[in-house]
Amino acid sequence: MFLLLRQLQRVRHDAALRRGRPRSLAVRHVDAGSCNGCEHELGAVSNPFYDLPRFGLDIVASPRHADILLVTGPVTTRMAGPLRAAYDAMPEPRRVAALGDCALGCGVLGDRAELVGSLEAVLPVDIRIPGCPPSPATIAQHLLAGLE
């Protein structure tokens, strides 16, 4: 079933069928070792000041429903496995977003033995959202750009 869907998507993609402008994005968040700052700010984009769900951006409970895997934190050795499992569970087309400086591998603090390196070393990163942590406005800006 899964394979068939993937096949269908590939055929559609190859045929370059005209599709409407995408209007929604389902985002699955994975905390791969963050300080919780990025989580607070990602939560804040749903507050009444920003209310990103009105643009069709939703946080979904399962990677099976997700278009984007939004990852925070330097990837710890203990989270590398679950992170990969979440990515593997996503249907195509899928994108990975690195949320925050840790996920981008900038100035990461910690013991090297406990970290596998930046997110880039584990998964292909498509969207980069810088900041420590990025403000809700910055997150909104980058995710809305992802809608295009």
Partner: protein, 460 residues
């Protein structure tokens, strides 16, 4: 300056027993061949030390030391005679669960490490019969970054970054506890300006945390109006943080040996006005919650933490006060600017979700009053001046939004030799598992959010 009392391994339990008679356990840590524990009574801290080799367990004397011993075993290879079974805490066994629950109709429900919402990573293993939770196994440390180890060997100024980034929501409390530990070791004492500046940052942190935690509890029962009202209030508090300190989580507002947050009279006056509006809106939002029957019906008698269990498990903060432990470190913080503070009390010290929520609401009011007072004039940066002889070990203790956080810093040749950050969340996780036992599984999000502990500052 904290003196260390060294005892032989054979006398460890005896020394701990006598220390417990005079104070509450505040943490234990491994330090270059030694095993040490701190005991706090009001503002005073007593540190005991024994050789790490041959140390006996103290978990039967003080159950709050359970996680400390388990962590020291996993991270430093220490063994504690009599601690059996010594279950892993940080090192996750590749298979199997430490708690074995068997019987008719018992099954396991696995949750995490990745959760359904925007939540930190950690694994919960529920052993249930039907919807009833028999036991909860919490497996945390998925986010262990080895921050304490990485900070070792650095100068106290450099190591501050590691403490600050341990947890965003407790960044100020952890940093102040760390700065106090270093200053304690170096024999420095903060002047009035520094005490005011740090207290201001701590209360601004408590303000947005408590607003967040009340909103999160509403989310725990799916009460969207409350969630949104408090999310909006928290946003306003964080925007104020950004205006005052240039950072929504107040990063960079604490320095070692001096202040890093200063406000002129105009900025303080403007912040005071903003806070007065925020305070009346928060009071109105809280009133709405009090009269929301669908929310209130979910709170009473759920996730009860009895007074004696809270004492036994070493619970701290709003959770402890909800269970009738009338303690708040802010009462005894001479290095900060508090006076006459009375620990918050719920309407009834029932130790349930309702009581924990009420404690936060009461503390929210106190915090607003404190902030109003702190912002009555300009805030200076301040400094810490030499007052005593330097020593090799310092202890800092701060009441963070979740309770008492203890930081221990040991110095050698001007650099960090050992760093231990024992946060309120670390102290309180065992209480979450205890409160969840016997409850309904669907009530767990609510129980968990009534404690609202961090994973980041436990895992470090």
């Amino acid at each position: 300056m904290s003196a260390v009392e060294t005892v032989p391994a054979a006398r460890w339990r005896e020394a701990v027993t006598s220390a417990l008679a005079g104070g509450r356990f505040a943490g234990a840590w491994a330090s270059a061949g030694a095993w040490r524990a701190a005991f706090a009574a009001r503002g005073d801290v007593r540190v005991l030390s024994c050789p790490a080799q041959g140390a006996e367990t103290i978990t039967d004397l003080v159950e709050a030391a359970l996680w400390d011993e388990r962590e020291a075993h996993d991270l430093h290879g220490l063994q504690f005679a009599g601690h059996a079974p010594l279950r892993p805490l940080v090192a996750h066994p590749p298979d199997g669960w430490a708690t074995v629950v068997s019987g008719d109709g018992v099954h396991e429900v696995a949750v995490g490490p990745i959760h359904a919402g925007v939540i930190e990573s950690g694994h919960f293993r529920f052993h249930t019969v039907g919807d009833r939770v028999l036991a909860l196994d919490t497996r945390l440390f998925y986010k262990h970054r080895g921050l304490e180890r990485a900070a070792s060997g650095r100068t106290p100024e450099d190591a501050l970054a590691y403490v600050q980034r341990a947890c965003a929501a407790c960044a100020v409390a952890n940093s102040v506890a760390y700065a106090q530990a270093i200053e304690d070791a170096l024999g420095l004492w903060p002047d009035r300006d520094l005490r005011v500046s740090r207290t201001l940052a701590l209360e601004l942190e408590r303000l947005y945390n408590h607003l967040h935690d009340i909103g999160a509890l509403c989310a725990g029962v799916g009460f969207a109006p409350g969630t949104m009202a408090f999310a909006a209030l928290k946003e306003r508090a964080q925007r104020l943080n950004a205006r005052l300190a240039g950072h929504r989580f107040l990063f960079g507002t604490v320095a070692v040996g001096g202040g890093a947050l200063a406000l002129d009279a105009d900025a303080a006056r403007a912040a005071r006005t903003t806070l007065r509006d925020l305070r009346s809106d928060a009071a109105a939002a809280w009133r709405e919650l009090e009269f929301a029957a669908s929310l209130q019906a979910r709170l009473d008698g759920v996730g009860v933490l009895a007074h004696e269990d809270a004492l036994r498990l070493g619970t701290v903060g709003p959770a402890a006060r909800a269970s009738g432990i009338r303690e708040d470190l802010r009462e005894h913080s001479p290095r900060l600017y508090y006076s006459g503070l009375v620990p918050a009390r719920p309407r009834a010290e029932t130790g349930d979700v309702a009581a924990r929520l009420q404690v936060r609401a009461v503390e929210l009011q106190t915090t607003c009053e404190l902030l109003d007072d702190l912002l009555s004039g300009p805030v200076g940066r301040g400094a810490a001046t030499s007052q005593a002889e330097p020593s090799a070990l310092g202890v800092g203790r701060v009441e963070c939004p979740r309770g008492a956080t203890t930081c221990i810093a040991e110095l050698a040749a001007g650099r960090i030799a050992t760093l231990r950050l024992r946060t309120a969340s670390f102290a309180n996780w065992p209480a979450v598992a205890h409160a969840a036992a016997g409850c309904l599984l669907p009530d767990f999000p609510l129980i968990n959010k009534s404690f609202e502990l961090c994973y980041a500052c436990v895992d470090r």
